[in-house]
Symmetry: C2
Subunit: 190 residues, 2 copies
DNA sequence: CTTGAAAAGTGATGTAGGTCACTTTTAGCT
DNA sequence: AGCTAAAAGTGACCTACATCACTTTTCAAG
């Protein structure tokens, strides 16, 4: 476990500096969790008690429309944060599903604990501020890509940006992330 | 000007508490700017020295594709923050345009000053953290709407969510925000 | 190594929404 | 009030992509 916590510390220290005492305080507010492939981290209608930092593994966050079709909001793997941020922030029931595409391990942070460490250790508030800002920028890029690009160029773009991801995820899920049908995506390569 | 700064303080205090001394310190790091309709706040290729809190007015943030078509990332009005967050954060040249749809006034915050007040006044770091988180949640919603909804229902959704905005913005810009052509949008009402 | 299920590929056909060209309406300036 | 330019509406036609139905390939579990 120490090695895993060290990874988390490194993740924080990529952005802000923490003293050993600060880190001891911070790390004591995380819980550990591990799940097998196909198990759910978050489900629609269930409480969302945590946001999760992924130690290892791969998950998908998605919602299901009236027709039963899956729409993928995010893939998240090692070193990513994932949650139903909306439900988590407002402590409401989940609005999306998050489940594991591979066996996965997480460090879990409750809202109460997050606010505690943010108000106790300013560097942590700055860490989350900067992280959140990066996330915002990424989503803006994705919106632009949905507005400006064809399905095919969105696919090429993703191939370049996250080649590793494509290896680990079935194409039909990539299609659902790009907002295109499985069949259409399949016709792109050829 | 005092009244305008008071508005800004209220904006901060909706989320965090600040002492008078803290506020004095914080407010001294903002600059005031005012622009007429059609003037640019940010331009592609130009330095992005600030992020802007809108005291009054309305702006659009957009990019222009190879075919010269405009794609609107965001409308922002009173009490909103706006910038080219990506360029601002990395101090790179602008990647989008932001211009005024109405005469507008802003408080401007440089990156240096933002980091200064965030590291000096922890409440401010928490303010931006929480704000940024809200922004992230909004963008996620918009991505979901682009993935799951038809152009028509996205329009209806927007009509319900921001009726005031529709009054102030020409429909062709709404179309560009929704990712639909002007002509198609025009056929929805009828 | 086999086998059953999930994933991927493929053809035929349907449709939401785009594009182009033109008309009508609205709104800002002098 | 009168004029110009931008905005909005509309018809005809086009295309990217969806959907459906089916086949082939891949892969994991016994």
């Amino acid at each position: 476990m120490e090695d895993k916590l060290l990874l988390l510390r490194q993740h924080f220290e990529e952005i802000v500096s923490l003293t050993d005492e600060e880190w001891d305080f911070v790390q004591s507010h995380f819980e550990y969790k591990s799940l097998k492939k196909h198990q759910f981290l978050i489900q629609v209608g269930q409480p969302v008690d945590f946001e999760y930092w992924i130690i290892k593994g791969l998950v998908k966050a998605y919602s299901i429309d009236e027709k039963g079709k899956e729409h993928i909001l995010q893939f998240a793997m090692e070193d990513y944060w994932v949650s139903d941020h909306c439900a988590f922030q407002h402590q409401k029931p989940g609005t999306i599903f998050v489940d594991c595409l591979e066996d996965s391990e997480f460090f879990c942070l409750s809202l109460e604990n997050r606010e505690k460490i943010c108000f106790e250790v300013p560097a942590v508030a700055n860490f989350f501020r900067i992280k959140s800002n990066h996330g915002y920028i990424n989503l803006q890029q994705r919106i632009l890509s949905l507005l400006t690009m064809t399905a095919e160029s969105r696919y090429e773009y993703l191939l370049n940006k996250l080649p590793k991801l494509i290896q680990r995820v079935p194409k039909k899920l990539i299609a659902s992330y790009l907002g295109v049908s499985r069949e259409t995506l399949s016709r792109f390569n050829s």
